[in-house]
Each structure stands twice: as C-alpha cells, then as structure tokens.
Amino acid sequence: MTIEWGRAVQENKKNILDAWMSRSLLLFSGKMAAASPVAEALHQALRMVLDNCEKNSELLTDGLVQLSRILAVQDMPPSQAMSLFFELKKIIPELSLKGSQKQSLKQLDLDALQNRLEELTLKAFDSYMMQREKICQLKLDENKRMLFMQLRRADA
C-alpha cells in the first residue's frame, strides 16, 4: 500500500528536491557554489535518496553512500551533516500543500514520515561513519605503500 507521505514526495519530487538542495548548500556556510561539480554530485545523491526513500533497497543504500562520501570530507561536524535529513521534515509537508492533493498530510502521515526520516538519518550516519573509517584506512594504506620496500624487507 502506498504511504501518503510517499505519494506526496513522488508527486512533488522536483520541488522537494530543489528545496532540499538549496537547504543542503547552506550547510557549506555560503562556501559552495551551486554549479560546482560537487554541488552537482550532491544533487544526484539527494535525488537518488529521495527517489528511493520510501523503503530500504540497494538503490537507497547507494544513494546514501554517495551522499555520505561527499559529506564525510567536508569542513563540518557529523551532526551538521546529518541535519540535512531533518530539513525534509519541514520541506515535505510544506511543499505537499502545493501538489495535486491540495491538502496537507494528516497527523498519521506526518508521524510515519518522522519515523522514516529518523531511520534514514541513522542509516546515513552509519554510512557516514563507514566513510570516515575508510579515510583512516586510506591513511594507513598510504603509509604502508610509502614504506613498501622497508616493510617487505622487515617481513623477510
């Protein structure tokens, strides 16, 4: 059965995505040009997440990985990066009013949306941490590569 908030998202996807994107750019404190390749990649990742936000799927995971890969190397704390998802809580009901439904989401739908966004935030946080762990591993691997011949000799 289609969830009401999910239908609202699908019907107003473009507007929601645009609003979410402009809110996301504010994360960068005015230090991110909207037409830059990173902003473009961010837009793609947000779209992928939005397209697949209703239920868990490989595509949703891919979207979250792409998104967190961008966010994990920015000059912002994890809390700020994750606040991105809280924005949807405001944007979706707000923009759904302008859609074909011409009516606001019921409280039940809003509760369902809130629950889903909390799930998504936690999933995104896991993905974000995976990227940070990867950064640590990359540092280690890079050092190992730099000392390749010495380490090889030590093993011998």
């Binding site: 230090k31 830059s36 000059d75 691997d141 050092n143």
Partner: protein, 547 residues
C-alpha cells in the same frame, strides 16, 4: 585514542556555541574578507618539526599547530614579511607583473580543482591571489595607498597570515588556472612566493620540509642511505628474474657510463612506483643501454620548489654535479611531475650551463633530442616513444589486456613542458584498451590529483579528497562508460596519491606508471613464459595451459 577524535571541550563548543542548525552561518552577500578562517582536523598540514628546521637552518623552529590561537610568530614578523615581499617584487619581475595586471575577469575562477572540489570562493585563483595582492596594495604602490578605500587593500595581521597558510596550501601549483588567464598570470608563482614568505617566519608544512631536509642530507625524500638505495633496486632485480627469468644488471655510480638515469625516489621505495622502476630496468636491459644510477643524485623530485628558490636550486644542483663527476654524456629522467618543471624551466639557468655534457642523442636510434639541447636531460616517455617509433622494441600489448586504461596527464609535464603525445603513443603501443577522459580534463586542461606541491600529507586527507574530486569525476565517467580499471600516469606524486583518491571516489580503479605497462609488454630475449604482470597479477589469457 585517535588524535582525530574531538576533545570534550571541542564537542562542547560544537554543540553549545555552534549549534548544528542550517541557516546559522550564511555569508552570502558578504565581502570575501568577512568569511572566517577556520582550521579543523583534515584541512591543515602538520608544521615542520623543530629539528627539521634546525637541520635546514630555517627560521623560528618551535612546536605549534594551526589550530593554536597563538602561532608564536617571531618578533618583528610583519617587517620580515614586508621586506621579503619587497625583495621578491624586485627580484622576480613576473611576480610583480602578476600582482599588478589581474583585471579580475574571473576566467580562472572555476578552473581550479580546489574551488571545484570545495566550492570555497577563496579557492578561486583570482581570490587566492587577492589574499596577497590586498596586502601588496596596502603597503606598496603609492596611488593605491592614496585610494586605499577603493583598492581593496588591507593591513597585514596575524589573521592574514593564517588565511595565507590555509589557502596557499590549498593550491597545488598545478597552473590549470593560468591556461585560461587572458593576462597570462601564473597563480602557481604567486603561491610559490607566498610559501617562501611564510617560510621566512616559520609557517610551514612538515610533509614538505622533512623531505627537503632528507634530500639535503642523504639525497632523497625518504632519507634512504646509499647502501639501502642499492639494496632496494637489487631486490627489484631479483623480482624481475623470478617473473621473467631475465637477470638485469643495473650499475651504480659507474664512471664513464654514457647515460646517468635519475628518477624520483618513490620509484625505489614505494608501491606502486617500484613496478615502474622494474619497467625501466627491463627496458634498459632490452635495448642494452649503457647507463648508471647514482646513489648521490638519488632523487628526481625537488620539494625545494615548494619551499624557496634557493632551496630548489641547492637540491637540483646534485644532478649536474653527479653527471660531471661520473663523466656521462647526458641525463635520462624518469617519470615525475614537478621534477620536470624544475628541470625544464629552471635547471639550465639555476645550475647550468651544463657545457660538460653533450646534446642528447639516443644511442639506439640516433635521434638527436634537440629540445633538450640546453638542459641535456631527456624525459623517459620521449626516449621510449622514439624507440617504439623506430621499431626497436619487441612488444606484446596483449600482456596488458587485463588493464583497461585511461591516461592522467601530470600537471607539470603537461602544462610545464607541453608533453601530451609521447606518453599516449607509448601507452597505445603497449596495451590494447585505452580511452581518453573528457576533453576538458586532459592534456593542457588536465586536473591535478589534488595532492601535488607537497600536500600529500595523511592529516590533510579531507582536503585532498575534495581537491581531487574533479579528477576523480572524470575517471568515473570512463569507468562507467568504458569499464576502465586502470589509471596510467607519469608522475611519482600521482602514483602515491591517486590510489587513495581512486579508492575513495572510484573503487575498482588502480593506478599504474607508464613504464610498468612497458615492462609488462616487453618480450625479452630468452625470457620464460610470462603469465603474471610485474605486480604478480595474472595476465588475461596467458595463464598456465592458456595460449
């Protein structure tokens, strides 16, 4: 506990003072100088260790960090910077010209990989240069002084120094911006000057100064002593014998050899550089080259270039010294980036003329490299391309069929010496699958790896990943459209940093040196059946029992 975990006090500040609310810090519409300078783990490099500075006789050795409120700048640092700026404006006419002629057209703005990867306006080359130009205007030209309010000038303060340190270390001196500048401004030279000035007051980067100190003492970046340098190469000789059945015979410090071979030391100690070294050794054996390798001039790279003009000159001098001592005819240089900018653009006037050397002539093909008539030093890619052109190499490109390649033009070789075709000619001859990246990301428009000019520090990883994003995006495109799994390059810093960049943004793409692929493809006289490449990975269709 990891040093990267935030301290409790930092967390408190994060939550209490800087609540993670979106619209908190919207600077749109404000002046660039109002944007705060913020050092966080991941966006600054560790400063030079006191003992490193003492070894080099550099000023203001001390323990400090960019996140400290007080950087312990020396007394009278303002005068040091002003005098330093004045002296450089006098000595380097290009620097003065670059500061004076910018019309702020913005053509450079979206050409910088750091701007594209971070979106930070201060990473637009025009604005990065403005960081120093604004001080220059305040202190120097008279008319500008009178028209202060209109000229965008500002006072030199400790905050300005912090800003310089942050942003002139987010420029890899790649010169992509200069390709598009209608005034011909080379922002890389502005960065070089800014870093020189910062070094005068002890604001520096250990990942640059430690290799400089090592080079100064033992001749190479990692500080490998001569006997270890030889042992490393001998160990690679054994690997080659295991893989091919061929015993190659490099010689060291041999007087009377025809050619001195100098390559970045990363090829002698690091992965994947060592496989490129194996490729060189196989090539030289294949053609019977009379060459020697020096344990004194054991580094092609020159981190002096990222420090000061004088240090670059000093570290470079060993190339000619050693060529003269050994009595060779000319020098052959390995795959490196900034080494070639130093060699091609500065060496002759810094440490030449090398009138004790001869104009390079290939002993195999007889080709005269008149383009190297002044420096007497030939790039290995043009040397090999010439060999292939004259049909002097027996190659089996099928041996690289497991590698679906694309080529990354290294900034300094591409833009610094205009070498675009030779590596591609070699690559096409040694493998069957090669796809170019998008046109505006290759050749003279190539994107930097994001870690050049001594910024390959592990603690700088976050910014490196952002700065390398445009290059990674271009690779991703050919990865998706042509299933490319191999990024070939001719620069040691690329070989060190691109594997990390690829693992982060484009898992599944590995990084190779050009001559590693040459080594794979070479059919050596008397070799045993080759089933594995130089990394001991199986070659497609050439395994046991396969034909």
């Amino acid at each position: 506990m990891s040093k990267y975990v935030p301290k409790l006090s930092e967390l408190k500040q994060e939550f209490e003072k800087k609540k993670p609310v979106l619209l908190k810090e919207d600077y749109s519409g404000k002046e660039w100088r109002d944007l705060p300078v913020e050092f966080r783990d991941g966006n600054w490099c560790f400063p030079g260790k006191p003992e490193v500075l003492e070894d080099l006789g550099f000023p203001n050795p001390r323990k400090w960090a960019a996140t400290d409120a007080d950087w312990q700048l020396p007394d009278g640092w303002e005068k040091t910077i002003r005098d330093g700026l004045k002296s450089r404006l006098k000595r380097f006419r290009s620097f003065k010209l670059f500061l004076d002629t910018c019309v702020r057209c913005g053509a450079c703005a979206d050409k910088c990989h750091f701007f594209l990867g971070t979106g930070d306006p201060k990473n637009m080359p025009v604005l990065r240069a403005e960081l120093i130009r604004s001080v220059y205007r305040n202190d120097f030209p008279l008319a500008e002084k009178i028209l202060k309010g209109f000229s965008g000038s500002r006072k030199l303060t400790a905050e300005v120094i912090k800003e310089w340190h942050l942003y002139f270390n987010q420029c890899t001196e790649c010169r992509r911006c200069s390709v598009f500048c209608p005034m011909g401004i080379d922002t890389a030279e502005i960065t070089m000057m800014a870093r020189e000035l910062l070094n005068l007051i002890g604001v520096n980067n250990n990942w640059i100064l430690a290799p400089v100190s090592n080079c100064n003492r033992t001749g190479n970046h990692l500080g490998i002593e001569p006997h270890t340098f030889v042992q490393n190469i001998e160990s690679l000789v054994e690997d080659i014998e295991d893989l091919t059945g061929i015993k190659v015979n490099p010689t060291f410090n041999r007087k009377g050899a025809e050619i001195l071979f100098i390559t970045p030391s990363g090829d002698v100690f690091g992965d994947p550089g060592v496989y490129t070294m194996m490729g060189y050794l196989l090539l030289f054996h294949h053609i019977g080259l009379d060459y020697t390798i020096s344990t004194y001039a054991s580094e092609g790279g020159n981190f002096g270039m990222f420090t000061s003009n004088e240090m670059m000159k000093k570290l470079n001098a060993k190339m000619y010294h050693e060529a003269k001592r050994l009595g060779v005819k000319w020098i052959l240089g390995g795959e490196c980036g900034h080494m070639w900018r130093v060699v091609h653009q500065y060496m002759d006037t810094m440490n030449g003329p090398a009138d004790f050397l001869e104009e390079p002539v290939s002993p195999i093909t007889g080709t005269r490299f008149s383009n190297a008539a002044s420096t007497k030093m030939v790039h290995i890619a043009e040397f090999t391309a010439d060999l292939i052109y004259h049909n002097k190499l027996k190659l089996d490109p099928k041996r690289n069929d497991h590698l679906l390649t694309t080529f990354h033009d290294s900034c300094n070789v591409a833009r610094g010496m205009g070498m675009f075709e030779e590596p591609r000619y070699v690559l096409r001859s040694v493998c069957n699958s090669f796809h170019e990246m998008a046109e505006n990301t290759i050749r003279e428009q190539t994107f930097c790896c994001g870690s050049g000019s001594g910024l390959n520090a592990e603690e700088f990883m976050d910014i490196r990943m952002r700065g390398g994003f445009p290059r990674a995006s271009a690779v991703r495109q050919v990865q998706e459209t042509h299933k490319v799994n191999t990024l070939v390059t001719i620069c040691a810093i690329d070989r060190a940093s691109l594997p990390t960049l690829m693992t982060y943004w484009n898992p599944g793409v590995s990084v190779y040196g050009l001559h590693e692929l040459v080594g794979n493809a070479l059919v050596m006289k008397g070799e045993k059946k080759r089933t594995e490449d130089l990394r001991e990975s199986p070659m497609t269709g050439l395994g046991e029992g396969e034909e």
